[in-house]
Symmetry: D2
Subunit: 343 residues, 4 copies
Amino acid sequence: MIKCGIVGATGYTGVELLRLLAPHPGVDIAVVTSRAEAGRAVAELFPNLRGVLDLGFTHPDEAPLTDCDVVFFATPNGTAMQQVPGLLAAGVRVIDLAADFRLRDPALWADWYGMPHACPELLAEAVYGLPELNRAAIREARLVANPGCYPTAASLGLLPALRAGLVDPARLVVDAKSGASGAGRKAQVATLLSEAGESFKAYAAGGHRHFPEIRQTLAEATGGPVGLTFVPHLLPMIRGIHVTIYGFATSPDLPFQATYEAAYRDEPFVDVMPPGSHPETRSCKGANWCRIAIHRPRETDTVVILSVIDNLVKGAAGQAVQNMNIMFGLDETAGLGGLALLP
Amino acid sequence: MIKCGIVGATGYTGVELLRLLAPHPGVDIAVVTSRAEAGRAVAELFPNLRGVLDLGFTHPDEAPLTDCDVVFFATPNGTAMQQVPGLLAAGVRVIDLAADFRLRDPALWADWYGMPHACPELLAEAVYGLPELNRAAIREARLVANPGCYPTAASLGLLPALRAGLVDPARLVVDAKSGASGAGRKAQVATLLSEAGESFKAYAAGGHRHFPEIRQTLAEATGGPVGLTFVPHLLPMIRGIHVTIYGFATSPDLPFQATYEAAYRDEPFVDVMPPGSHPETRSCKGANWCRIAIHRPRETDTVVILSVIDNLVKGAAGQAVQNMNIMFGLDETAGLGGLALLP
Amino acid sequence: MIKCGIVGATGYTGVELLRLLAPHPGVDIAVVTSRAEAGRAVAELFPNLRGVLDLGFTHPDEAPLTDCDVVFFATPNGTAMQQVPGLLAAGVRVIDLAADFRLRDPALWADWYGMPHACPELLAEAVYGLPELNRAAIREARLVANPGCYPTAASLGLLPALRAGLVDPARLVVDAKSGASGAGRKAQVATLLSEAGESFKAYAAGGHRHFPEIRQTLAEATGGPVGLTFVPHLLPMIRGIHVTIYGFATSPDLPFQATYEAAYRDEPFVDVMPPGSHPETRSCKGANWCRIAIHRPRETDTVVILSVIDNLVKGAAGQAVQNMNIMFGLDETAGLGGLALLP
Amino acid sequence: MIKCGIVGATGYTGVELLRLLAPHPGVDIAVVTSRAEAGRAVAELFPNLRGVLDLGFTHPDEAPLTDCDVVFFATPNGTAMQQVPGLLAAGVRVIDLAADFRLRDPALWADWYGMPHACPELLAEAVYGLPELNRAAIREARLVANPGCYPTAASLGLLPALRAGLVDPARLVVDAKSGASGAGRKAQVATLLSEAGESFKAYAAGGHRHFPEIRQTLAEATGGPVGLTFVPHLLPMIRGIHVTIYGFATSPDLPFQATYEAAYRDEPFVDVMPPGSHPETRSCKGANWCRIAIHRPRETDTVVILSVIDNLVKGAAGQAVQNMNIMFGLDETAGLGGLALLP
């Protein structure tokens, strides 16, 4: 059994990790930390765990994290980078669900995250945990930077077309929409049901932190600069991300569908849907799937790629479990066999 | 492996059965029937099954149901009673998720369901499939009448108090609320998102078919007549039932909490919450749990019992799987270990 | 033109007052106060007012409230009672949308609201602002206690039956459900979209502050003690209250429908629906109506009364405007002619 | 008083017309037709009208439409074109809320709407009823083609930039999102609350009927061809449209904000928000406003224009009333002063 620790499990990615890891056949949840909730039963905070997980929150200062095989960070940005060097030194492998290790360039990171990076020397070593892109490196990694939710959906949607040269890399548009759980479990007016319900809006249209992350992934894949516009929006629902990607086709009659089917043929969690499909976010609700469909709109020279995930599963905790499975040589789908809740 | 057939799997209880049975370790889904969708892939209708269930709908006339060990009916009321006698004669065990075998009195059934019963001789044999009430009988049953969604939540909420004589059986009020999936997957104006969203209403306040079902269960448990008022309401959400039960305590200072904890101590899917709790329907979303809390409001002689389930799981398909597990000697929780999706 | 002041207009009852008063033909909004938002444009906080209301928040210490004809308090409980004596002394009439003046008994108020009352001598003078009950007194009132949202729906639903002696006053059950806007516009986890969306629960089942308010209104109307159980619930939607009232009929075949139709025949905002109706909360969304329907369920001795309002309109700001209209001799429906938003 | 007739008032644009016209000071609703509901009280179908509109549905064959000053068609596409020639001949002015008269080219219309046009000779005369574009022509029009909901939001968002030459007309992307009321009030599975709730998807990504309509408006405004990609999406909410428009700026440092503020300075219903704003659909819920904000994302050469409306108001019935006001010389804002419902 793999001994797991979870740092900062009072947010939505944390409770989602618990939902997936509690029944996982190869895992023992050894310790769950929270500064604010230390001493309280985890199931008191998250009643879906009642009767299943009999564990309390441990104060971070008293948590035996170095006894773990792997530690997940489900913390705000800037926390993991304080503790990761020590854990790696103690031989613990780390999966960071926050953004601390996602960008390779410490200056870029500092610019977008508003603080200097605490351990820039680890940025080169950290493996960007998108299994479809980096499976071999994940297997050997000490430190995995679990991708952001939007970047997961956008990158899986764009990589095959870019690598095959089917779209102009200079003029990409990613219009992204996320459920409110992406904004986290914190007390704030903007995501109250009475504020975010029955309404829809863009946010951070002038620049969002996932923009440099997506651009980095695409640029590395194409080996050149990428012109990207990325605008996120807030959906009046809890779970799910839908990205609508617009690209300009490099020539008429390109084999988009076949390229995608070939790219993802052996992937356990990427579903290329038949031509003409419109994936619904609910087809992934609670499940680790990404579903993709490709359209060539009438009387245009564009391609439209639709990509959906559950932001808390393939966009966060599920992908983290997938990475853990790869790192420890388990079946990649272990603990991830649950089907999407529909309706 | 238990060979299963599902009749009428194009509705919500049908797809929920598929969601639970597809990854069930002891089950082989042999045949899924639909008159309207015969020949179509099941996963085309329900995209959450894509990549997991590779099966098409079979026309009922061509479905080899008699080769199954068990057949689930997820059909409209009045369908199962046409086919059940033949299946039983062929040695197939049956779990009916509709209402055909829930009432013992054929005249009462005809009155509430608006048609004569096709096989009244089976009503005495049919076992009401509430495991917490009838576990032993379910084990031996050829024919299980899976309880209605409201009756499951209401009966689990009321039975301990009634059996212990803690509340007046003559004056019970059950105020029940259900998500819209309870109304089924059929084209109708009343449950459009634009009609049922952001609104709330009672329905069938003058009399609902689950009223005689609840009353029968309570009367059998108490051995006497029961005075019950039952009003269902439609919630602007998809899944979940909450019943708020009002009873008049038979004397002051009765041990409600202890009575409920004792009654459900060994039940794998009933959770008696601590005093002062308010169960949320989402704590059961997608899971087979029933969570119950008991309150004694200030300055009253009443008891308020709160009981929540997922109408499609413990209120339908999950309970059906639980019954199947019992009938075939499997671990009662097999295939039902998924935790509620929260948030 | 009536000069109005609004104290504490950053919450939902405040912005609803602004929505109704800004286009009101007989009103001039003179001053809107907020300690936290002083100096900011009101329309910056509430974009529905952009282009319509060109006014900023004034700091309470600098607000010329004594120049107003009427001041509305849309503040947390315990604030109005600090300022009302001074305003009344200055000849300003007051409508308090909070609970400070709703209970006549200062000891009861202190018990339920957890603080001593600051001006108990005004409790006898304050008029409970339910026009259907106290229209004449409201006309002359210096100080109107605007009713709570649940009490409005419950009292309008129960008063005709109680006054006519049709139900047993000793055994009343009010099962109440409210949209999340009733919980206010404050940063808290419990009413985040991801927490309160797609879920349903009771709260304060052991005792809610609207319980003594409803009981007081009913007891005064009947002239004797009332046995009441009241349980509120949180709906996964923004606006609307539905109360389901259960009473035991004092004899068979009582003229419930005719009694209600007679009681409300001349009321501009109470709609007694035809027998068999199920009022939907959306039929009042944004409008000042209360819609009521009465049912006698099959095979019971109970009556079920369904009563719906918009908690922010007839349950708060709309009723306050109705009270103002009465107090100042305007047409009672002035500014309240907007129809419910459906769908 | 203007005598109005409404043809086909059982859908959402119909009931919205009734909500706006019933309290309109200059209008008398003379006749409301419905084939299916003839003889039934309108308020029975739409309970928000109870107590306000005392009128029944008239069978189309018996409706005295030629006595009206203006007739609104709130019918499915293809109906108005059958009746409009007769009404015009009788001197009745017509506002068609369907698509029958929106495209100038009958061949294009036939291609996208799947039927030949019944009166192509009227297409040249019909005025496209976008007041911000065609106010003078609307004033004189006999026949107004009320714009589609998406085209209203998209055209208002794009026209100033295109006319001023600020964006490349060859590479426009309009990513549009609509609430479910846009799909109408018809019995169908796809827009059930349990299907469309808590989910999000694109639809008609290969080509939607509003595509040629938007393209025609933009092409006429620029006097040249336009390269447009348009993808609509379904939001899990009732009302509201948000379009996110992506354009490539024709040079750096263009005065987008000033251009838009100048273009809409005198418009009563278009609100250009301050730089950095993100309009929410709810800021227009129930109101006739269009709110627009412009962004220049970091490190890109694109401009992002955000435009929101209520699809049933500025996107349908409200714009129709605005057109009527213009046609009959009323104050353009008459009957349209209601503020958006927030929250």
